[in-house]
């Protein structure tokens, strides 16, 4: 009886045969609405920082360098790929690409650095939570959002409440190389 059940088991498991996928040598693409790495389309982004407000992992940081330039840094190391930013963006500038092969040996490979030109804001009212205040009103040089890109943390404080020492730490901002094409 014991032997019979064993032989039956062996035959039973042999039926499906070898099912191993030859993955790294044959591609296994993710389904089309897969929530992979988010990508910012800098031509559509209006710099309203709605995504930075709504990211559960607080990996999207916004900093105003001066009256005209707002820098948006997405640090992929803590991103949990929940797709909340893509859902909240009023301009649908963020797309959850089906890219999942993000393995790397240096954490800077999974970051996105966007420089947005804020001078041409026409107060069109499309940006995030327009009814309370517009992004440009908050934008005063002191900047309503001054997250530390170096320490990669969202600080949610305006610049004027910073001590000078903290400001120096953020001086070493290097501009991204290529122009948005």
């Amino acid at each position: 009886m014991w032997l019979a059940s064993k032989i039956k088991q062996v035959l039973m498991v042999m039926k499906p045969g070898v099912v191993t996928l030859k993955y790294p040598f044959e591609p296994r693409p993710a389904p089309e609405n897969f929530r992979g790495a988010p990508h910012w389309d800098h031509t559509k982004c209006i710099g309203c920082a709605g995504c930075a407000e709504h990211c559960p992992a607080r990996t999207i940081m916004v900093r105003d360098l001066c009256q005209e330039i707002r820098v948006l840094l997405y640090d992929g190391s803590r991103c949990t790929y929940c797709g909340r930013c893509a859902e909240v963006c009023p301009e649908k500038a963020i797309v959850m690409t089906p890219r999942f092969e993000q393995a790397t040996d240096d954490r800077n490979d999974i970051t996105e650095n966007l420089e947005l030109f804020m001078l041409t804001c026409q107060r069109c009212g499309r940006c995030y939570d327009m009814e309370t205040t517009s992004a440009i009103d908050k934008l005063g040089l002191t900047g309503y959002r001054y997250d530390s890109l170096e320490a990669r943390t969202v600080i949610r404080k305006a610049t004027d409440s910073f001590r000078p020492k903290e400001l120096e730490a953020t001086e070493r901002y290097e501009r991204p190389g290529k122009t948005g094409d």
Binding site: A37, T80, F100, E101, I110, T179
Partner: protein
């Protein structure tokens, strides 16, 4: 001569030691998943072992919480010779949603030197296999930093030295 053979055989037989330092066990299930029939990393010679003494690769999953920080360091120290550390999942790569709460010390890098990061929450088994293949040198890296500018700004705003501030009067107005 033996050392040369051993070095050549090292990537072909990686014994993996799984260290969960505070993960939600989503990544642990994916780590076990790559041993199951559909993905089966044993074809690369990877085996899950129970003791750090026999291990070559430490699979770190989970944001290193305060109590596990010394334990992860000890487990890493207990591993012999040529060893690698893989950080699997957003918690190990950067600390996850709770990277800065009172009981979490941040990602895997705060405890041990991490060689390869596999982001994802949880990363697909294919993504983990891709990370392993990257370490074995079978594939090359696809991730690259993205840096974009909306416009090439005419004046260079970034010359933040004394001269620039005098020239630009708006700073006096605001710095009172």
């Amino acid at each position: 001569m033996l050392a040369k053979i051993a070095k050549k055989c090292f990537p072909r037989s990686l014994w993996v030691y799984h260290c969960n330092s505070g993960a939600c066990n989503g990544c642990d299930i994916e780590i076990l998943n790559i041993l199951t029939p559909y993905y089966d990393v044993e074809r690369f010679g990877i085996k899950l072992v129970g003791s750090p003494r026999h291990a070559d690769v430490m699979l770190l999953s989970g944001a290193v919480t305060r109590p596990t920080l010394p334990l992860v360091k000890r487990a890493f120290a207990a591993m012999p010779g040529p060893k690698l550390v893989f950080g699997i999942g957003s918690c190990a790569v950067g600390g996850g949603c709770w990277f800065d709460t009172y009981n979490v010390t941040g990602g895997g890098a705060t405890a041990v030197p991490v060689n390869y990061y596999v982001p994802g929450c949880p990363p697909r088994p294919e993504a983990i296999i891709y990370g392993v293949a990257l370490a074995l040198g079978l594939v090359d890296k696809k991730a690259a930093p993205v840096e974009l500018k909306q416009v090439e700004f005419p004046i260079d705003v970034y010359e933040r030295n004394k001269a620039w501030e005098e020239r630009n009067v708006i700073y006096e107005v605001l710095n009172k």
